[in-house]
């Protein structure tokens, strides 16, 4: 990885990613922070592409940008009376110190450790290999992940939906007539 293109791509993507992350940090507006987060996700996806992990990059876009961000936007919209600011708590300065320490420690480890043999050429055809190892070596974790996702789905639905009597009381407060005839959910 020493071509001009690689340098250009890495440094621009690194600036975008870290800059967007810092944007989240300083932004006072939750939606602006959200946009920054999305930008950061996209930057990371670009870095994955640079690392020849096309599959992971696409999954990153699909899941983080396409699903998780949208979920978070929905959550922001569904909490209308909550504060929309993105201010800090009293943990601000301890947080800054901790952040500095963690970054320093990790960077030290990253730079001082001998990571052994470095592979020059990336492994090709990542999607097929990932798929094969998912259903060969990692079939049990794969199943567990599936169960976890289902459990999370059910849990999220169970948490987020109102109780039945809640809905009844709510609807009665809304209208004098029943809404049985409105057909389907809306």
């Amino acid at each position: 990885m020493d071509g001009v293109g690689h340098h250009l791509a890495f440094w621009s993507l690194a600036v975008i990613t870290v800059g967007a992350a810092l944007g989240i940090l300083v932004s006072r507006n939750l939606i602006h922070a959200m946009v920054m987060l999305i930008l950061s996700f996209i930057g990371v996806a670009g870095l994955y592409l640079l690392l020849s992990a096309e599959f992971i990059a696409v999954v990153q876009i699909l899941v983080y940008v396409g699903a998780i961000s949208v979920l978070m936007l929905f959550a922001i919209l569904l909490t209308p009376r909550a504060a929309r600011d993105n201010a800090e708590t009293a943990m601000r300065y301890p947080g800054l110190i901790l952040m500095g320490l963690v970054i320093a420690a990790t960077v030290f480890v990253a730079l001082e450790t001998d990571w052994g043999a470095v592979r020059e050429e990336p492994v090709a055809e990542s999607a097929r290999i990932i798929g094969q190892s998912l259903i060969n070596e990692f079939v049990l974790p794969f199943e567990i992940a599936a169960v976890l996702l289902t459990a999370a789905l059910v849990g999220a639905v169970a948490l987020a939906r109102r109780d039945d009597e809640d809905i009844d009381a709510h609807e009665q407060s809304l209208t004098l007539e029943g809404r049985e005839d409105s057909g389907g959910s809306s």
Partner: protein, 104 residues
Amino acid sequence: MTIGLEHFLVLGALLFGVGLYVALAKRNAIGVLMGVELMLNAVNLTLVAFGRFVESEVALSTSVFVVFIIAVAAAEIAVGLALAMVVYRNRDTINVDRVNLLKW
């Protein structure tokens, strides 16, 4: 200078640090979740970088790991946001400072 493993590791460390700060210090529950996502992304980036640069027994096992992390992150964010919604519905706020019923 060649772009090598260290570049990506340092980048991951920076991202992780920022994510940690956001998760620790932000007041809004959704802001906190953003920080968590950022940290997970940093970890994923590090893993993919290792998978790219370091020889391993099983090809691309790091990528498989990343796929699992992304799955878990999706689950985590779904539950986390549902919790935020419930807190909002009961307490009318998602300010983590004011959600302190378990504190006393």
